[in-house]
């Protein structure tokens, strides 16, 4: 079971929230790599092992959905969760596996990550 910690690429332009989220996820047993922009994330995501991407939606430069589309273009298998403070779901959110509100809280976040990593596919299909 613990042969490998899952690696999360966590993307957010705001430094403090990113840092605190990293801590929560690490407590939950993940390895966390951070990136402060979509561009930075793209520089990392294909060059090393990443099990799931958790990205903020609204960022300067490319948005979360744009990042998700670019990643899926090369790694359709890589799960991506979009994470936003704005609760409006963006029009092209379907490129991600899940769209999640930041206010759901850390417990829900961890739960969802685990769900997406562990067999979310089955729960998303009727």
């Amino acid at each position: 079971m613990l042969q490998d910690k899952k690696v999360i690429l966590c993307v957010d332009d705001e430094e403090n929230p990113l840092l605190l989220r990293k801590l929560v996820l690490e407590k939950a047993g993940y390895d966390v790599i951070t990136a402060s922009s979509a561009e930075q994330a793209l520089g990392v995501v294909f060059s090393r092992r990443i099990d799931i991407v958790l990205s903020d939606q609204l960022m300067p430069g490319s948005t979360g959905t744009e990042l998700a589309r670019q990643i899926k273009a090369r790694r359709p298998d890589l799960p991506i969760i979009l994470f936003s403070g704005v609760n409006e779901i963006p029009a092209d959110a379907e490129c991600a596996d899940l769209f999640l509100s930041k206010v759901e809280g850390p417990a829900t976040l961890c739960e969802k990550i685990s769900m997406v990593l562990g067999g979310a596919i089955t729960t998303r299909e009727p």
Binding site: L20, A93, G105
Partner: protein, 648 residues
Amino acid sequence: MNNPNPISILMVDDQPGKLLSYEAILSELGENLLKASSGREALEQLLKTDVAVVLMDVSMPDLDGFQLADMIREHPRFQKTAIIFISAVHLTDVDRVKGYQRGAVDYISVPVIPELLRAKVSVFAELHRKTQQLERLNRDLELRVAQRTEELRASESQFRTLANSIPQLAWIADSDGSVFWYNQRWYDYTGTSLEEMQGKGWHRVVDPKHVSRVVAGIERSWDSGSSWEDTFPLLGQHGGYRWFLSRAIPIHEADGRIVRWFGTNTDITEQKLAQQRVYESEQRFRTMADKAPVLIWVSGVDKLCTYFNKPWLEFTGRTMEQELGNGWSEGVHPDDLERSLEIYRTAFDERRPFSMEYRLRRADGEYRWMLDNGVPLIGPENAFSGYIGSCMDMTERKLTEEALIKSEKLAAMGRLAGIIAHEINNPLEAISNAFYILRRHPSLDQEARYCADLAEQELSRVAHITKQTLSFYRESQQPVPVSLSDVLDNVLELQSRRIKANGITLEKQYRNGAVIQGFPVELKQVFLNLIGNSIQAMPEGGRLRVTVEEGTEESTRRQGIRVSISDTGTGIDPRYTKRIFEPFFTTKDTKGTGLGLWISRGIIQKYEGTIQFRSLRLSTGNVTCFSVFIPGLTSPRSVELSASLTAG
């Protein structure tokens, strides 16, 4: 005795003594006495002078009285001159007759009685004087008649000149109506002659369709002596008819007798055509106006309405007679009437277009908002003839506008909510994460952990409120199977602390596992709102009942799931029943956002479902029930019949 106007008396006798004695007798009369001693002399005198009376002796030597009388009478000038014979011899009746035959007017026998002679002569002198006066008078009269005739001739000629120069056809008839004169225009127009036209000849130029009426009418006038008027076509010389207004007036003598009829015929074809055109254009306008999809009215220069089109009358359900004048204002809503009339009057007086809104009662009694646009009617040469206006029922538009304003307000709210959500949720997440870590940190003592715990709880409240009020959130694009029982349990779990705190008894009846395709977060939000409201309505305790069952919607016969949440709380004021699903409507003062039920309904409508409620206020207490129906096939799991649970 002096006579101011002496006449001449000629005395003829061959004896100078007699002449002297006659002179002596007659000198008293004061007339002019002439003497002749022979017939020849007498004739000379007569030719020189106008002699009134000749006094002559019958027996004179060369020319006796009878012979002289014959000669005098032959001359036309003396045929009426009085001749008195004086005869010394006894006159037989034969002599007298002879004398009378010669023109003698009287005989005087010798011896002459002076008084008698004077009297007889004086009679003839007077007669002559009178005759002279009569003749003078006659001459004067003749002169005056001549002058008058000349005047008349001039005046008649003036009249004819006048009659020929007027633009009308004119004619003159006898008192019995037989026409004897027409002016030149009559002949020019009809191309006829007096011979054809005189008397009743004019009948033939009257349009045969009108002739009997016209003749009957004018004959009534001839009989009654009252003036006549009629309108009919007259045949022109080129064969076409033109319309004429014909009039005749009687001309009276001083004694009131009718001596003439004077008539005119005025060509009114242009007016008639113009009238016809006006009539036709009016008809065209009415046909158009009646087919128009708007309500149309027309008013005159006195501001009173003169016309309403069919759609107007159909709309108000009233007759033209009822609406005319100011009648239409009876249908205007009393609250709008004064203002509308003011706008109308002011615009009218300034002759400018206006636009106003007012409520008008429809035939079914409902007041509808009308948009009324009026414009002044300005004819050729700037003649103002009133107003025309069109009205549209804009009730729907007004409602739509109101809805649009509302939805714009909401959109603005939405944008604002988005900005606030972003600015609050981001730090909120960071703080939540911080406390999440903090609370589990091993270095915390009991008190610090307690504080962190409280802080976390409070944060979750903040998170909840931002999620509920600032979001239209969906966690996923694809619907997933959702168990409504699970959702409800989840909500009740979240609210368990408040249910307990308020001392509320909870009853659950889940007759169906009720799994639908949906989005759990938003469904949770719906029931969180409904259950949250129920709990808030029962601060002093009560009964909360939550049921889930399969059902059929009565109005549509659709199959689906019905979730009912009922409470025994404060209930809903009937005044608010229409508004409680409106956005920003709240009965909770500052505590509520006024969005809960509105959002809930929006969510349920996405599922093509409905939310209904009923609130009964009874003496034994209130019962309020919100019922959510979500249509669709269900995939029932095991039927859970759960017992009533009592929390508290």
